[in-house]
Structure formats: structure tokens, C-alpha cells
């Protein structure tokens, strides 16, 4: 066999190997979504993943070990104020390997952020990613700090619910 052929053969083998490595890298994306959007959508319609502050306070007062509160704000905000017994997993690190086992255990994880928006987004992200037993604390740390801790009262109107309409529609004289 002449040398040019050898070279060509070597080149082809190297290319194939590289291609293999490349494709295997591509398919083994560990961050792919494990739950399809349609499935999550019907789950969202059927069940409620929010935890009201009243319920949360009960859980904390009873020291219910089934629940784990997770603060997804940054460490400074966490140090400044956090719900009793909560641990801190800042949003940017939420998918890191070090927390995988924590998210996979049996406890019910209650996510919270300053309000409920970021926590809800994190809830969707983690659920899409395949984790289960997650809840979102309504009103988040702000409501907890301003109402639950300082006044120890809940307004019964449920203002901690982000989706509650907080104004009087009749006041808007629509131009249409």
C-alpha cells in the first residue's frame, strides 16, 4: 500500500472519530427538557402549584419536616432576610449538579423569590427539567417580611396572589 492512501485512511478515521465525539456530545445534552410542554400545560390547568402564606406559616409553626423552603434570590438578599429554615440556591445556580440530589429527594420544595414571578418561572423551569414535588410561595419574601413577620396578619383579600385584580374595573372609562 502506498503512503498517500495511508494518510487518506488516517484522515478519514480521525474525521469519523471526531464526528462521533461531536454527535455524542450533541445528543447527550443533559440540560434538555424532560417534560414536554403540552404535558406541563395540562398539569398547570389541572393542579395548583402555589402555596399561600397562611399555609406556609402553619407548616413553619408545626415544623413540618416534609417541607423545604428554597430562597432563589441572591445570597445578599438571603442574608438580609429569609424565611425561617429556608436554604439559599440563587437562580443562576439552580440547575447545577450539586443541587440535583436535593431536588430529587422526597421533600416538598417551596420556592420563593422577592415576589412570586421569578419563583414561578423557576418552578416551570425545574418542572420542565424533570424535577417534581415543587411549590411556589405566593407573595414571596416581600409579602412574608412586610405582612407575615412584621404584622402577623394576613389580609383576607388575598393580595399576595399575583393574579388577583387589584383595581376597580368600573373606574376605567374605556375609550373604546
Amino acid at each position: 500500500m502506498k503512503r498517500p492512501y495511508l494518510k487518506l485512511l488516517g484522515l478519514i478515521i480521525v474525521l469519523m472519530l471526531a464526528g462521533l465525539v461531536f454527535t455524542s456530545l450533541k445528543t447527550r445534552n443533559k440540560y434538555r427538557f424532560k417534560k414536554p410542554a403540552e404535558e406541563l400545560h395540562s398539569e398547570l390547568i389541572k393542579s395548583n402549584h402555589f402555596l399561600s402564606p397562611q399555609k406556609a406559616l402553619e407548616i413553619i409553626n408545626q415544623k413540618d419536616g416534609k417541607y423545604l423552603f428554597i430562597d432563589i434570590r441572591n445570597p445578599r438578599e438571603y442574608d438580609n432576610f429569609h424565611v425561617e429554615g429556608a436554604i439559599n440556591i440563587p437562580l443562576p445556580q439552580i440547575l447545577d449538579d450539586q443541587y440535583a440530589s436535593l431536588f430529587k429527594n422526597d421533600k416538598i420544595k417551596v420556592l420563593y423569590s422577592n415576589e412570586s414571578i421569578k419563583a414561578d418561572e423557576a418552578w416551570l423551569l425545574l418542572t420542565q427539567y424533570g424535577y417534581e414535588n415543587l411549590l411556589v410561595l405566593q407573595g414571596g419574601a416581600n409579602y412574608w417580611k412586610n405582612n407575615v413577620i412584621s404584622k402577623n396578619v394576613f389580609d383576607r383579600k388575598g393580595d399576595y396572589d399575583d393574579e388577583k385584580l387589584k383595581f376597580d374595573i368600573s373606574k376605567i372609562k374605556s375609550a373604546r
Binding site: 441572591n74 445578599r76 440563587p90 443562576p92
Partner: protein, 200 residues
């Protein structure tokens, strides 16, 4: 993925430390480029020394190419990188005043700090002057407020204005810059002032 600090919630102290380190690099490069000499800077306007042109455009193009490649490799999110807000009138009038200050004083703020660091007394006075200038602006701000806020166009990119892709715009800037480098070196030969260039 970059930019690192805004995306990773890094503490104020580290941010300021990074600022200090980047500043060292900035000052070092400016001084090495010879920007600590006012006559070298002024040479730009008389053609005997076009270092300013060369350094300025080489630096801008290097960063530009780097950002384009980083963006392509997914290493930086260009949507969060700061693009200067464009206020038409204040940018032009401010630029004209700065141009006058440049030819009269021989420095710009960055280079004057750098020159003051190696003991140029004129640079120290220039620095003092710019503090006074800023103070005057602050005191008379109500007069300029309208001008300062007029014609806000937002963070516009030149590529959007000309309607070309960012990559094409980079190429255009590079071609223009290389032509200017060539002209600059021609000018240096034509307006040669051995007496000055030897001294600085």
C-alpha cells in the same frame, strides 16, 4: 457566558477590584502607546505623528472583532452589552467642545491621568481644568438641560442606521481604518518633524 459580572450577580467589591485591574491595563496600554505626551497627541492634527489614529482604531477594531467572534461562539450576550445612548445635539456639540479642548490642552481625560502619573505637570493642570469644567457644567446645568436631553434616539447602532448587518459594518470600519493607516503613514513622511519626534 459573558458579560460575566451582570449575569452572575457578583459582589460590589469584586466588581471594583476588576475595575481597578482593567484600569491598570488601560493605563499601561495608553502609556506604552505614548499617549502620555501631549505633543505626540497633538501631532495627529499636524500630521507629524499619527499614533493616535493608529492606536485608537487598532484598539477599537480589535475589540470589535473580538466581540463579533465571542458573540458568534455564544460567549457573550450582546443584548446586555452597553451601547451608548444617542442624543443628537448634545453628542455633536459636546464633541465640538471636546475637540477644541483637545487642540488647546493637548490631552483628553484618560491620557491626562496617564501623563500625570508619570509626572507631566501640564497634564496635572489639564486634569485640574477638567474638574473645573465639570463643575461649571454642574453649576450651569439648568441652562443646558434642554440641549442635554434633546433628540434622544436611544442606543442606536451605526449598522442599524445604515441598514447593514453588524458583520458587514465591522468590515466597512476595518477597510476605512486601514486606508487611514496608510494615509497616516504617508502623512508622517510628508510632515516629518525630526526635532519634535526625537524629543518625544
Amino acid at each position: 457566558m459573558g458579560p460575566l459580572i451582570p449575569l452572575n450577580d457578583i459582589s460590589e467589591e469584586i466588581n471594583l477590584l476588576v475595575a481597578f485591574l482593567i484600569g491598570i491595563g488601560f493605563g499601561f496600554s495608553l502609556e506604552q502607546a505614548g499617549f502620555s505626551s501631549s505633543r505626540k497627541l497633538a501631532g495627529m492634527f499636524y500630521g507629524y505623528d499619527t499614533t493616535v489614529l493608529k492606536v485608537f482604531f487598532t484598539a477599537a477594531i480589535t475589540a470589535m472583532i473580538g466581540l463579533t467572534l465571542f458573540n458568534e461562539l455564544g460567549m457573550i450576550d450582546m443584548s446586555i452589552v452597553y451601547v451608548n445612548d444617542y442624543f443628537v445635539r448634545s453628542a455633536i456639540i459636546g464633541g465640538i467642545i471636546m475637540g477644541a479642548g483637545f487642540i488647546i490642552g493637548g490631552f483628553c481625560p484618560g491620557t491626562s491621568a496617564c501623563a500625570a502619573a508619570i509626572g507631566k505637570i501640564d497634564a496635572m493642570y489639564f486634569l485640574l481644568g477638567s474638574l473645573i469644567g465639570i463643575f461649571i457644567f454642574g453649576q450651569t446645568f439648568p441652562i443646558w438641560e434642554e440641549l442635554y436631553m434633546a433628540d434622544h434616539m436611544g442606543p442606536v447602532k451605526i449598522s442599524d442606521t445604515l441598514g447593514v448587518k453588524d458583520g458587514v459594518m465591522v468590515l466597512i470600519v476595518i477597510i476605512v481604518a486601514t486606508l487611514m493607516f496608510w494615509l497616516g503613514e504617508k502623512a508622517e513622511k510628508r510632515f516629518k518633524r525630526e526635532d519634535i519626534t526625537k524629543e518625544i
